[in-house]
């Protein structure tokens, strides 16, 4: 196994005066799918936000190395261009800006960063057509405002669609299963599974085991009160389902 894709050491972060992450350690390698589970308020979304550079969070200690580089020193857009993608728990609406325009701008910012030529509209249409089909999004969606008037399920599918187009090396999925019915969950999971590759790392953050029956993880970690309290294989998710977080935390202590 080579150098890790992502190496989190002693990561601490707060919102206002409230410390939420209290020393997170986590190592992910290329090709792996990890799941982070934990009760509400354990710091799951904070971890996702800190990795993506959300300004709400203040990092107070520790380090995050991404492909050997200091991730925390990069602006959010640089992280994105370097291949870090966050699928939002609550995707944001941008009225009046079409999905097509938004996504094409994103693709071209990343391509410029890599020194690749920008895509024109025709290339872009070619790039997205197939991926839209996989996620069951129809063409009209591209003309609508970003997430504007989308149903909850459409928003989540749109996140995974964007991920498929942007082809990140590290994808963080923040409660992508929340608010999805079983059919939508299957579509989204199929989209994620299609992205699994030896070059890519996927970090799935979820409250429920349900998603992990469709996206089967290599490793499962339990986050509680801002620390990883247990790690194991996919069996840990099932154990959580049976015993609840309280039971598992007690066993890990």
């Amino acid at each position: 196994m080579g150098a890790p894709m992502l190496e989190i050491r002693g990561l601490r972060a707060k919102v206002g005066d409230l410390e939420i992450l209290r020393g997170v350690d986590l190592t992910l390698h290329a090709g792996e799918v990890h799941a982070i589970m934990g009760p509400n308020g354990s710091g799951k979304s904070t971890l996702a936000g800190v990795l993506a550079g959300r300004p709400t969070y203040e990092v107070t200690g520790g380090s995050v190395r991404y492909e050997g580089k200091d991730l925390l020193a990069m602006r959010p857009e640089v992280r994105a261009r370097e291949g870090v993608f966050l699928a939002f728990q609550y995707p944001v609406e941008i009225p009046g800006v079409s999905n097509a325009y938004f996504l094409k701008s994103a693709v071209n910012s990343i391509r410029r960063h890599r020194g690749e030529p920008e895509l024109d509209s025709a290339d872009f249409v070619g790039l997205v057509a197939e991926k839209m089909k996989v996620l069951g999004l129809d063409e009209a969606v591209m003309k609508r405002g970003v997430n504007e008037g989308f149903s909850g399920g459409e928003k989540k599918r749109n996140e995974i669609f964007q991920m498929a187009v942007l082809e990140p090396r590290l994808a963080v999925l923040d409660e992508t299963d929340s608010g999805l019915d079983i059919d939508a969950l299957r579509v989204v999971a199929a989209g994620v599974n299609a992205m699994r590759s030896p070059q890519r790392t996927i970090l799935v953050i979820t409250h429920y085991q349900r998603l992990l029956t469709y996206i089967v993880p290599d490793r499962v970690h339990v986050l509680s009160a801002g620390r990883i309290v247990r790690s194991g294989d996919k069996g840990l998710a099932l154990e959580l389902e049976q015993k609840g977080y309280a039971g598992v935390e007690a066993a890990g202590a």
Partner: protein
């Protein structure tokens, strides 16, 4: 250690840079400073006007002296010294009046070129007829002959007074009377030029008509007057643009626009206002007090105002529609941007008089820096305006913490059959929207530009295509986001 905050960058975005602030040394024919009956007579004499027009001016002047400057708008500024203003300044002709565009003073042509306005036909704005007004006079009109072949009259107001006195006399002051309000009365007394357009019965004007207003001379006010008449079944789309040099003192601009649409006629009037806004501390900048009104006089007539207001230290204007003819339609689409110390108090009045009249108001205010942006609108449904309908949408977007947005809608309904809809939102440019865009790889500047343009899209869609592109660019320049969104 903290993640780089988006906040500081947002504040920086509100610093504006004005690109059209140069001035040109042109020899000018200027009247003495100050305002009196003598000055009004002098202006009228310089323009060689018929007695009826001088009388009309004097009536307006005498009424103006009895009026007081209105104070109800949400704007603050020092006192205007009306005796310190020069009311007429015209670039001195270097020879006899130019007979064609080729004969226009090359210095003036070059100045317009620098502004991006081509006075040479079939260039960049091919398909757009331009009347160029410099300080107090019209210096050139393009495509005049082609339009005349269709019976369309388009040119300077002064020429129209001489060439078509009956038409001017018939309609002048019928929409905005000489005593309408303080600034309209002032304009009626001293207006020096402007554009006149007349579209005869059944004619669809095949090209955009446009006037480009430029203040060049220092210490000069600009008081233009525009009159557009669309006869039965006629259609015209008209656009005005404007700019001024950067000067430390404030310059007064008090214009009047009158529109008349007869049966089945339609007038689409678009404005891109980019007068000098003053510097970041509020020094200099144009005081823009404008009265614009359209009468949808005929059955099924339509008047549509679209404005993009990015310039001026102070903007005070309410393009309005009097919906008199049955089934007539009034529209107002507005984007107003205030950065630095700019103040805008702008909106519309929709007066429903005829049956089945409909009006739409879409107002988008963007504030940055210490800018203050006010929407003020009135919708009035008079008794007998059966089945009148209005839809109003007023949205405000704030960039940063030091600017303000205010909304004063006034709705008066005197007919029980009216249907009214009003929506209003105020939002700070979302940190969430910014972060979402950055997380997809867009820079902060790209993201703000994109979000702002998205916010204004509903208004830009109503501009003629080539100007929509200009407006989009201008908006980004005024928010110092130039070169971000193509």
């Amino acid at each position: 250690m903290t993640t780089p905050s988006s906040h500081d960058a947002l504040l920086q975005l509100s610093s504006q840079e004005y690109k059209l602030g140069f001035s040109v040394d042109l020899e000018a024919d200027t009247v003495p400073r100050g305002l009196s009956e003598d000055i009004v007579r002098l202006i009228s004499r310089k323009k060689n006007e018929p007695p009826w027009l001088l009388e009309w001016r004097l009536k307006a002047y005498r009424h103006w002296t009895t009026m007081r400057e209105p104070k109800w708008a949400k704007i603050t500024y020092g006192p205007i010294d009306y005796q310190a203003i020069t009311y007429y300044s015209a670039p001195k002709p270097k020879g006899p009046a130019p007979k064609s565009l080729d004969e226009v003073d090359p210095e003036i042509r070059a100045m317009y070129q620098k502004l991006g306005i081509s006075l040479v036909e079939q260039e960049r704005l091919a398909g757009v007829a331009v009347d160029a007004v410099l300080d107090s006079v019209s210096v050139a009109t393009t495509f005049k002959r082609q339009l005349a072949d269709l019976g369309i009259l388009f040119g300077s107001f002064s020429e129209a007074v001489h060439d078509h006195p009956d038409l001017v006399r018939k309609w002048l002051g019928t929409v905005v009377p000489h005593n309408d309000n303080y600034f309209a009365a002032l304009n009626s007394a001293v207006f020096s030029d402007g554009s006149f357009a007349y579209i005869p019965k059944g004619v669809r004007c095949p090209m955009e008509l446009s006037t480009y207003f430029r203040i060049n001379a220092a210490g000069t006010g600009q008081f233009e007057r525009t009159l557009i008449v669309a006869e039965e079944g006629a259609y015209v789309s008209y656009l005005e643009g404007c700019s001024a040099p950067m000067r430390d003192e404030h310059q007064l601009h008090a214009a009047v626009v009158e529109l008349v649409a007869l049966d089945n006629a339609e007038i689409k009037y678009s404005t891109i206002q980019n007068w000098y806004p003053g510097d970041k501390d509020g020094k200099g900048g144009v005081y823009n007090f404008v009265t614009k009104r359209g009468k949808a006089l005929g059955r099924n007539s339509k008047i549509s105002w679209t404005q993009v207001e990015t310039g001026s230290a102070i903007t005070w204007k309410y393009p309005s529609c009097w919906l008199i003819g049955d089934n007539s339609i009034g529209e107002f689409y507005s984007v107003a941007v205030t950065g630095h110390r700019q103040q805008a108090d702008t909106g519309t009045k929709m007066i429903h008089i005829g049956k089945n009249t409909r009006s739409t108001i879409v107002s988008k205010g963007i504030s940055a820096g210490h800018g203050q942006n006010t929407y003020r609108g009135q919708v009035k449904i008079l008794k007998g305006a059966v089945n009148a309908r209005n839809y109003s949408q007023c949205d405000s977007l704030l960039l940063g913490d030091t600017c303000g947005a205010h909304t004063f809608p006034d709705i008066e309904v005197m007919d029980p059959t009216a249907q009214m809809e009003h929506e209003a939102t105020t939002s700070k440019i979302g940190e969430d929207q910014l972060f979402y865009s950055q997380q997809r790889g867009l820079s902060q500047e790209d993201a703000v530009g994109m979000i702002v343009n998205g916010f204004c899209k509903k208004v830009f869609l109503n501009l003629p295509l080539e100007f929509a592109v200009e407006a989009q660019k201008l908006l980004l320049v005024s928010l110092n986001l130039e070169g971000t969104v193509g």
